[in-house]
Symmetry: C2
């Protein structure tokens, strides 16, 4: 018999159907037992009159149940399954390290991560990954609608550029190579091919700090676009993208998403320092400053998002385009979401000579950047882009304190399994 889903039961009242899923919970009462079966869409309640029918059935075993759909206002969804026959597809014969049927997982995070394949079945953990999937789908929909072309770029690179310290080394057929810390250079080169490109892919940071915000591998939602006047064109494209991402999350999940204003408020770095009450000479925003800015944006503009533009050049990577009117400041921006930076972006240099000068000024050798810079010799338009850290975005959206709970199998300083 064709299996149906828990959410389809109400359409089959009075009929015999087959459901299948995991034993979410077993409730053995005096005269009756309830078997709660969990499938991809929800729960089904199966009424079992003869407890011996359950045999040695344990939670998380996989079962197929054929039974009659019966109305019962007390049951979840108003229906339950009666007169069942039960077939066990996979029996669980070891004790579970923790229970899945409570509203929250009681196990510590390390225990959850050790048993990720089990912990991720909990509705709260599942929901975070569904939000990540929806946000990613929205990102792609938004960009495809704005003429961006999807690309796939190398994750193994020949030289460690960007921030040399936090890079993983590889043995590449006996030669040294590295895991890419971002698709930055490749997405810029691909602006020369498609004008507008995006990539969703893993990036790798050999981040030695063990914090609630850092992962050794995370998913980066990257975009880059050519023929911009300056960073404001990039911000406008990002705002449209963010709006579609939120709409997609709202449509596909039960999460209430924040409003994205058609024009997200923007303040310059120097204004931001003043608003946050920071000292005038500061060169970056501390977490407390970002929080203060988040509160200010909500209060003054009714916005949970805020752009901060014009960060000092000294604090931005060498490929950042300076503000032509004020070259100590950049055409770079951050996007704060509820007082936390979740996107970094900006206009990039586009002329070869400017790159040579910027690397010289930074005291960096030209050689490791050769393959990247050659592309700029052959004509690149003014361009810019951004990168969204998916796990941080999801964590911020759902109020998850540790980014490890916003990904399936996190990698960090101490963890490389499962």
């Amino acid at each position: 018999m064709q299996r149906i889903l828990s959410t389809q039961l109400a359409q089959h009242v009075g009929k015999t159907v087959t459901v299948a899923g995991w034993v979410h919970r077993l409730r053995l009462l005096k005269s009756v037992a309830f078997l709660i079966v969990r499938d991809a869409e929800g729960l089904s309640q199966v009424v079992v009159k003869e407890a011996k029918m359950l045999g040695t059935l344990t939670e998380e075993s996989v079962v197929e149940v054929s039974a009659t759909v019966t109305r019962n206002e007390q049951a979840p969804g108003g229906v339950e399954l009666t007169g069942p026959s039960i077939r066990v597809l996979s029996a669980v014969d070891v004790p579970l390290p923790f229970e899945l049927h409570r509203p929250a997982l009681s196990a510590s995070l390390p225990t959850q991560l050790d048993h990720a394949a089990l912990a991720l079945r909990h509705p709260v953990r599942r929901a975070a990954l569904k939000v990540a999937a929806a946000a990613t789908a929205g990102f792609r929909t938004a960009l495809s609608g704005q003429r961006f072309v999807e690309i796939q770029t190398p994750k193994i690179v020949g030289s460690s550029t960007e921030s040399g310290a936090d890079v993983f080394g590889i043995d590449y057929f006996g030669r040294p190579a590295y895991l890419a810390q971002s698709p930055q250079f490749y997405k810029q080169l691909m602006v020369g091919v498609f004008e507008r490109v995006f990539e969703v892919g893993p990036v790798f940071r050999a981040e030695p700090s063990d914090t609630a915000r850092h992962l050794a591998q995370y998913t980066s939602l990257d975009a880059e676009m050519g023929f911009v006047a300056d960073h404001r064109d990039v911000m406008a494209a990002l705002t449209r993208t963010l709006s579609v991402m939120m709409a997609t999350v709202a449509a596909r999940t039960r999460v209430t998403t924040p409003k994205v204003l058609p024009e997200i408020p923007a303040v310059s770095f120097t204004e931001a320092l003043r608003i946050a009450g920071a000292a005038e000479g500061e060169e970056d925003l501390a977490p407390a400053h970002e929080r203060a800015l988040g509160e200010w944006a909500l209060r003054e503009h009714d916005s949970e998002f805020l752009y901060v533009t014009g960060y000092p050049m000294r604090k931005r990577p060498f490929y950042t385009h300076p503000d032509p009117a004020s070259p100590a400041y950049s055409n770079g921006f951050d996007l704060l979401f509820r007082g936390l930076e979740i996107v970094t972006g900006g206009q990039r240099l586009h002329r070869y000579d400017d790159y040579v000068a910027a690397l010289a000024a930074a005291g960096e050798p030209l050689e490791p950047y050769r393959g990247y810079l050659d592309g700029f010799r052959y004509g690149m338009p003014p361009h810019g882009g951004w990168a969204i850290g998916l796990e941080r975005f999801v964590a911020r959206l759902l109020g998850i304190a540790n980014v490890r709970e916003a990904t399936a199998f996190p990698r960090d300083l101490h963890r490389v399994t499962p």
Copy 2:
């Protein structure tokens, strides 16, 4: 003035517009010069009466041209730009290693790959990447429509499993780790969470062979689904997916795509040997056999696709589910496209004890698989899935001989740049 695209020119006849792009070609005639500007969508022809206006302008420089749109039946698209003013956004002042405006790139493949940022601008190279983007989008659309949830899994793993030899080693915070050769184990574990999952991501093979078919990094289109009866449910889902992939490529590009029959013909491995004229005892299909099968499927079934099912267990990975009726053969399949295998899939083992037995039979230790196998202790339904190699798929679809031309920045035994 707002820039318009080359494809929009015909809507602006008689008006002054701005286009921007790369100098695709300069044609200097006796009394007039033609400047062909290439943008993301196509070409614009600019008529330049005074040759000196072009100054030292060179091909691939980036320009912005304001001019009047004028009808001319001889011009591409029936319109050209007259009375231009030209602004150079990025000047190219080095000789190009090859010309881009010929119908085919004349440079050797290594030269093209050395200068990938330039070579990829050629319409033929661009087209292959656009087909890859469309196929990928179709893959996701098809699977999202069949209740599959997108996942992101680790590319850094703690133990080298699958095919130990061809694995890249990493220095992971001073400990050994490896680049994932596939998301196989993770997508299986995620069946326990979402029932149906897919992933589009890079996989890594330290493949020591330098062939036209191998890449050290390629893009794998992976799917895995639970609650299947056997591999035929997986094949049905793959067929639907393939059909949407082809429709998406046809809709988004100029490529004529092959028909995907609602039911792709399938032959068993033993039948396949007979059809291909191979010796009865063979344990795998040689390339010549696959080609013969491709011709047979076209002739007998008018299909460019053919499933071969029931490969011998000895030739399939340990997690493959045997055919219950004939346990020396597997519930695994390959999909041939024009006589070449482009998809491998099948039903997997789903019970912990079966995994322990299969590893013992293969003479493999249990320990490296511990993190993976634990998931199977906690209840997994019968399941199966497949992996499509994106670059091979695109190469086969477009008749590209070397898979390196179906990706932007290939990685192989000899190449780790640009």
